[in-house]
């Protein structure tokens, strides 16, 4: 045994909604799992291990990976929970990769899920921050993002109109994605007229709260091609969960994305991401990130993000589509969100992304964001890596 190359051979998602009163959490998980098993034409007996995650405080269940075995299929299998806040979904995709690459498991089922409708999201998320230093003054997820946007705007003269163009793009893309929660276009004027949450972020600049689950099946190279004619090969992963205290953050640029991208691109031979990548599913929880973080990715120089967005390059049909699925602004079941980015890129690599398919893909990137301005990323390829 030892190092094995890994591919995604199937995935499944629920139809994500703001509320799913017809199912409890583990029944929601089960839907995604069944969809993934069908997609890969496998049964539960074929699965060797389960990697699962969510953010406990959103569902209020302790040892939740143990609780959910009825729905996840974990009965009498190895079950491991990974959880890292908003990055949970991408952390899970990285986890599944290592579990299969290790040679210990041939086929691993990865599950990310969240039932945000069951709790007060801000109330729960506020507990992420240090109770002595940060929690009393920094409420919720939005505050950090607003500071980032303000810092960037002050340096580069970008405006909320630039950010709104990102929101318009993603909401238009989501119309072609049957799984997305919000499937209605918005205009720039509508975004700017929507209620201000934390200057300069408007309601329509940010992600909704969603009940949803996503399941991805990874397999090693010995069986991947038997299970799937065109599997999605994992070329590499990198992450940075660098900051512990919100006030330490270097606001206005996403250091963790720059660090992770540098590492990932170096080890996979990506020298010109704009030329070598054909699709990106960016975990973009709010619109400004769509301008700022593509600079950290190295797609464009600092301060040139807005220009690139306005050029239409990142729209479907453009040079490098970003979030053909509609991304996080259209759908956000937090524990699943990062995994959905991974699943969506896998559909692109397999040529099965339906109306949102990007033509002639070779390499794609999925990212995760969360915690204290953290980043995860994964490079996917149509061909097997060397």
């Amino acid at each position: 045994m030892g190092k094995k190359r890994v591919a995604i051979v199937g995935s499944g998602q629920t139809l994500h909604r703001s509320r799913r009163p017809d199912v409890n959490g583990q029944e929601l998980i089960h839907e995604a799992v069944q969809a993934a098993l069908s997609d890969a034409d496998l049964t539960l007996a074929d699965i060797d291990a389960i990697v699962i995650g969510n953010m406990d405080h959103f569902e209020g269940i302790n040892y939740v990976d143990c609780w959910s075995v009825d729905g996840s299929g974990g009965w009498m299998k190895p079950v491991i929970k990974l959880t890292t806040g908003g990055t949970t979904g991408s952390t899970l995709s990285i986890g599944g990769y290592h579990m299969v690459a290790s040679g210990l498991f041939e086929k691993v089922l990865i599950i990310g899920w969240e039932k945000n409708s069951e709790s007060d999201t801000t109330g729960a998320i506020t507990t992420a921050f240090d109770p002595i230093w940060d929690r009393l003054v920094f409420a919720g997820a939005i505050s950090g993002l607003a500071v980032e946007a303000q810092a960037y705007m002050a340096r580069y003269g970008a405006t909320d109109r630039d950010a709104a163009r990102v929101a318009v793009r993603d909401r238009r893309h989501a119309c072609k994605n049957p799984h997305a929660q919000l499937r209605q276009e918005v205009t720039i004027e509508q975004v700017l007229a929507s209620p201000m949450l934390a200057d300069p972020i408007h309601l329509l600049d940010v992600c909704p709260r969603t009940d949803g689950a996503c399941a991805v099946i990874m397999a090693n190279e010995d069986v991947a091609e038997k299970l799937c004619p065109t599997p999605d090969w994992i070329w590499g992963t990198a992450n940075r969960h660098s900051y512990t205290y919100l006030a330490d953050v270097n606001f206005g640029a996403l250091d963790s994305m720059a660090g992770a991208a540098k590492e990932l691109f170096a080890k996979t031979g990506i020298k010109e991401p704009r030329k070598q990548l054909q699709v990106i599913e960016l975990y973009q929880p709010y619109s400004f990130a769509g301008i700022i973080w593509i600079e950290d990715l190295g797609l464009v120089p600092r301060g040139k993000g807005a220009e690139y967005i306005w050029s239409g390059a990142t729209d479907l049909g453009g040079e490098l589509p970003i979030n053909p699925s509609g991304g996080v602004i259209a759908c956000n079941p937090i524990g699943a969100t990062g995994l959905i980015r991974c699943a969506e890129v896998s559909l692109q690599m397999m040529g099965r992304a339906g109306e949102r398919q990007v033509p002639e893909v070779e390499l794609g990137l999925s990212t995760g964001f969360g915690g204290c301005m953290w980043t995860d990323m994964m490079l996917h390829g149509k061909r097997k890596p060397e």
């Binding site: 045994m1 030892g2 299998k77 990974l82 959880t83 915690g371």
Partner: protein, 382 residues
Amino acid sequence: MDKVAIIGIGMTKIEADKRGDTFADMAWEAVNLALADAHMTIAEVDNVVTTSNDFWDGRTISCMAVGDATGAGQGKNTSCVEGDGTFGAFYGLTRILSGAYGTTLVTAHSKGSESVSSLITNAALDPIYDRALGLDMVTACALQARAYMHRHGVKPEDLARVSVKNHGNALRNPLAQLPLKLTVEDVLRSEMIADPLHLLDCSPVSDGCCAIILANEQRARRSARQPVWVTGVSCCADAYYLGDRDLAVPRSLAQAAKRAYAMAGIHDPAREVQVAEVYDAFTYQELMWIEGLGLAEAGGAKDRLERGDFDLEGPLPVNPSGGLLGGHPVIAAGLYRMAEAVKQLRGEAGSYQVDGAKVAVAQGLNGLCGQSHCVWTLDNRS
């Protein structure tokens, strides 16, 4: 499985209330102990897996608290497992076996002193069918204890003997919280918490952090310390609802153990394992897990215990460190078992050393009544 070894360990003292330490302080202490133990710097740690629990820590994204203290700020790839430290170590192991990293630092922590444990564990009960009944870990485990005792004719005295042994062993472990010289009578006369579990049948809920460093073969052979090799490891989860399981039978543990032993080439664990560190959150659990690990027949652990087989001087010492009865930082608990097993196999356990120990088993668990287990077999021979 490629060869992977544990080359460094660090454990904070286990205490009832580490009032002067935050989670980060504990992690800082354990990590630096492990680095010093391995003669390594943080720069030589290729990636980090921390283990924590959001409920116990009162923090969603509980891993955030220990980021700086575990090297996340050093531009490293990091991740977090929520569950017992043995599961964190398992994921850390796969990140080496995948070929991605040469060394993994694994930590696990909790501070039981910062919360009301009954409410924290009540939150593990299904909110739809079970939680309103008001059980917690203690009452749930009491159900299991009764089922196990009824099945095999195990008496309260048999449970009490585990407490006497482990608190007694703790007298020799400077890190233990509760070194106590007890008699069986002391245990039986202690306050009844939930029948059949007396106070002294229960582990405390403690504060502590443990860190270990895993290394691939190449890095392990360059290590300044004698490597302790991972020969087998497996995890397995049983059904969730207590009523779906036969609580008297540690089915998922038996499967995990079987697979770990198969990987290690251990055919007769009761004879080949020389020391065991097991998850004795309650006295009855030590007996059940000994049996689930194949170290005694079903129902047979009590007789072996009474004969002294599991004492420090016996043929198969169990929890020579004092186990969790000696001090129980939840979440870190299984990683402490691994670290203690490493000490034994290195010959560094001082006055609680099991002489000539070459093969050890360490076990951790997750969930109510030992629903999910992770079993590790370790060997000090190349």
